[in-house]
Amino acid sequence: MGEKFDTGVENTWCPGCGNFGILNAVKKALEATGKEKHEIVLVSGIGQAAKLPHYVDVNVFNGLHGRALPAAAAIKMANPSLTVVVTSGDGDIYGEGGNHFLHNIRRNVDIALFVHDNQVYGLTKGQASPTSNVGWPGSLQRAGVISEPFPPLAVAMALGCGFVARGFAGDPDFTADLMLQAIRFPGFAFVDILQPCVTFNKKNTYSWYGKMAYKLPPDHDVTNRGKAFELALEWEERIPLGVLYRKERPTFGEMHPQIPGPPLSDRDTPEETVRGLLRRRLTAAG
């Protein structure tokens, strides 16, 4: 599985990069949806992670650093029949695009978000990211990181995100399964993916994540919000993997009165309707 969407585009990631595991997982999950390439849109910002869409043979919107989510949300609003997936970096989504992360969870458009969380700015060569741990030696953090790390899963839980999960680039099959669940979930679905950066992050390595991460037991109750919140905060001692929380609520597309119907590209503008809008502003003769 996973070859359906192969492309011949030259890959520019470092050998051993965690992105390869994520790419495999994305391709597997997309193939498992049974969708054709023209029905899928991969959206990203800028960064090493954000190059992923170029390596998958589907529709691609590779926009600005930090701005993947608003583009993705609007693509889905314009054409709800498309499967829209955002795949981008931790700096991109939690840093530059933090405001969009917050508000798109609230908006609950039916899209999936995969964050390649390598706790570093890879493309710009090793600066701290919002998820870097305190003390981590970033290339612009001479005394090590001082700020507390951004807790993505806890933030998502606090905002009522309906699908909250964590994957690991070192386990593509497991992560592909999470991704597939996220894509199928009706509403905003979020998967944070632990991703070793072999070049700029010598602390949070494959073996470090291997030691810290554990899979949630099969009897974990994904509907228990309080428990999921607790798990979302786990980081110092050990890091849970899997679906922490799952709860459906009406999606933006179901709630917004103008979204049901044909895609926006197919809607026409009858002259008579426009005239009618002008006539609403007609004032009668005396």
Partner: protein, 575 residues
């Protein structure tokens, strides 16, 4: 103009100034007259000093006047501030214990209480003003019927009649005779603001997606899109910030929806990176920018044309753009359709540059003045999607005019790859320098094509002479009326209105400007940005700028007197 009466209504925010001007304006139309409402309001929800001027005329009215023939001071505390603007021969009404003409003490509150609601003091005031204008109270009934039901309808009618009766007993004969509007036949008119006209034009132009973050004076555009847009299946969403708004519009455009955002200067500043994205990705998106005085938060509710140079150069890198500057509500309707269409045809960002003055100006328009053109889509579908030998679609295919056929995602058998990095024809990241050159030149060829479609400036007046006045956007009709004032004095000036400022109509202008002894731009800014642009683009001499930067719009008399002083008065120094 035979009849020309300027009524100023002054009061605090929340005191119903808007209700008064709206009611008076609609009564004037029902009585067969035309009007122009300008708003002068402060950035407050309650209190402050607001006023609106309703200039009523026998011909369509397209600019304001400073002097008020009739002043209705709903809040008497504002009298010291507004009374000096009453014209000789004019009069004022205020709820004060006693007064001497031309100020009249009208017990508005008491009449409102008698009508059944103390908040209707403003409507009683309208009754008094309408009496002075000779508009019978019945004229308002149809207007009230459209707005109110039941009890409140009756109370409004009563308040208006009490005001009219009071005026009959207390206003002097001269006053009433002086302003009485002769009876005329009337025709139905469309009443709308610049903001409304622009938004409706965008809708007529096929806009199906709009997003925005509220910012005065652009918010009115969003209101129309949110409230009228559903009739044509338009999806509106309030974004978390302006960056999200424009990025959403670009995303929707990628998916094939004609899209628009509306904002003011500060919001546009946040959109600038994405403007450049639209340039690089070749996404059609229309940006409506209603200017207000800057820098920074500036004066939120006032007017200025200070962002001209900003919009022309906004966005890193080099890419084509269209910038249109409507001069009236009708032109806003027309140019918004044009922007929607050209943005898609050339796959470029298009800007509609207005300002608070035009945004909030309300006028009455002949329903037939709005031309609604059929929406012609420029995206390719099905068999018309060009494919390579191996069946691929190239989003950025090299073409003679630079415009690559635009398909949208969802088209069976192909993928649409759009990229903000420099890219190959199939949309993938490239660092190949030869490809870079080809792509730069492709984008610039679109700019050249776009320039070929430039809307020529509008010209009025003698073909040569002493003075040429040049403006862009909202100053159009103010300059035109100034030109007419001067002509009546035997001073013949010509006027040029630029409704498109980019691509710049340089050739046309270079042909016009040198035919006049003096050429002045008229600009609602301090530094003469248009004058600089003309010099740069046409290499012709511009002698100076009539500028205004106090946050208020020009008036025809103001422009005319500056022109007189600089050109026709003795020892005048142009510039």
């Amino acid at each position: 103009m035979e009849i020309d009466v300027n009524v100023r209504v002054a009061g605090g925010a929340g005191q119903g100034v808007h209700t008064v001007s709206n009611l008076l304006a609609r009564m004037a139309v029902a009585a067969g007259y035309h009007f122009h409402v300008t708003q002068d309001y402060m950035s407050q929800i309650r209190g402050g000093r607001n006023s609106q001027s309703v200039r009523i005329g026998s011909d369509p009215v397209r600019a304001g006047r400073v002097e008020a023939d009739i002043l209705l001071a709903i809040n008497p505390d504002h009298l010291p501030h507004v009374f000096p603007a009453v014209a000789p021969g004019g009069f004022a009404l205020a709820d004060i214990p006693s007064a001497e003409p031309p100020l009249f003490a009208a017990p508005l509150k008491e009449m409102a209480v008698r009508a059944g609601s103390p908040i209707l003091a403003n409507v009683a005031g309208v009754g008094a003003v309408a009496h002075a204008l000779g508009i019978p109270p019945e004229t308002a009934d149809a207007v009230f019927a459209a707005d109110f039901r039941g009890d409140f309808f009756d109370k409004n009618r009563t308040a208006l009649r009490l005001g009219a009766e009071w005026a009959k007993d207390h206003l002097s004969k001269e006053v009433v005779e002086r302003f009485r509007l002769p009876v005329r036949s009337s025709a139905p008119r469309i009443i709308l603001s610049g903001n409304e006209a622009l938004a409706l034009g965008a809708i007529a132009g096929g806009c199906k997606f709009a997003a925005g973050y509220p910012m005065t004076p652009g918010t009115g555009i969003l209101s129309v899109l949110a409230n009228d847009g559903p009739m044509v299946g338009l999806v509106f969403e309030q974004a978390e910030d302006e960056i999200a708004a424009i990025t959403m519009a670009i995303g929707a455009a990628y998916a094939g929806a004609r899209s628009l955002v509306a904002t003011s200067g500060g919001g546009f500043a946040l959109m600038v990176e994405a403007l450049s994205l639209a340039g690089m990705m070749e996404m059609p998106v229309v940006i409506a920018l209603a200017m207000r005085p800057g820098p920074a938060t500036g004066m939120p509710t006032r007017t200025e044309q200070g962002d001209l140079e900003f919009v022309l150069s906004a966005g890193h890198g080099e890419f084509p753009r269209l910038v249109l500057a409507p001069g009236s509500p009708e032109e806003a309707f027309d140019l918004a359709q044009h922007a929607m269409d050209l943005a898609e045809e050339f796959q470029v960002p298009a800007l509609l540059l207005t300002d608070q003055y035009l945004a909030d100006t309300v006028v009455d328009v002949d329903p037939d003045a709005f031309s609604v053109r059929p929406v012609r889509r420029h995206i390719v579908r099905g068999d018309s999607v060009p494919r390579t030998g191996d069946g691929r679609y190239l989003r950025y295919a090299t073409t003679g005019n630079g415009v690559s056929p635009m398909a949208v995602p969802g088209e069976p058998g192909i993928t649409v790859v759009a990229d903000s990095d420099e890219h190959t024809e199939d949309g993938h990241i490239t660092e190949d320098h030869a490809t870079r050159i080809r792509m730069v030149e492709k984008r610039l060829r679109k700019g050249a094509m776009l320039a070929g479609r430039t809307l020529p400036p509008l010209f009025a007046g003698p073909p040569k002479g002493d003075l040429l006045l040049i403006g862009f956007g909202s100053t159009k009709d103010v300059i035109e009326e100034a030109r007419q004032i001067l002509a009546r004095e035997g001073r013949y000036a010509a006027a040029v209105h630029l409704r498109q400022v980019w691509p710049f109509p340089g050739e046309e202008l270079a042909g016009i400007v040198p035919r006049y002894k003096t050429a002045l731009t008229v600009e609602n800014n301090a530094t003469g940005q248009l004058a600089r642009l003309i010099r740069r683009e046409c290499g012709v001499r511009v002698d100076g700028t009539i500028s205004r930067y106090d946050g208020l719009p020009f008036t025809p008399e103001g422009v005319a007197s500056e022109a007189r002083r600089r050109v026709w008065e003795k020892n005048s120094i142009p510039g």
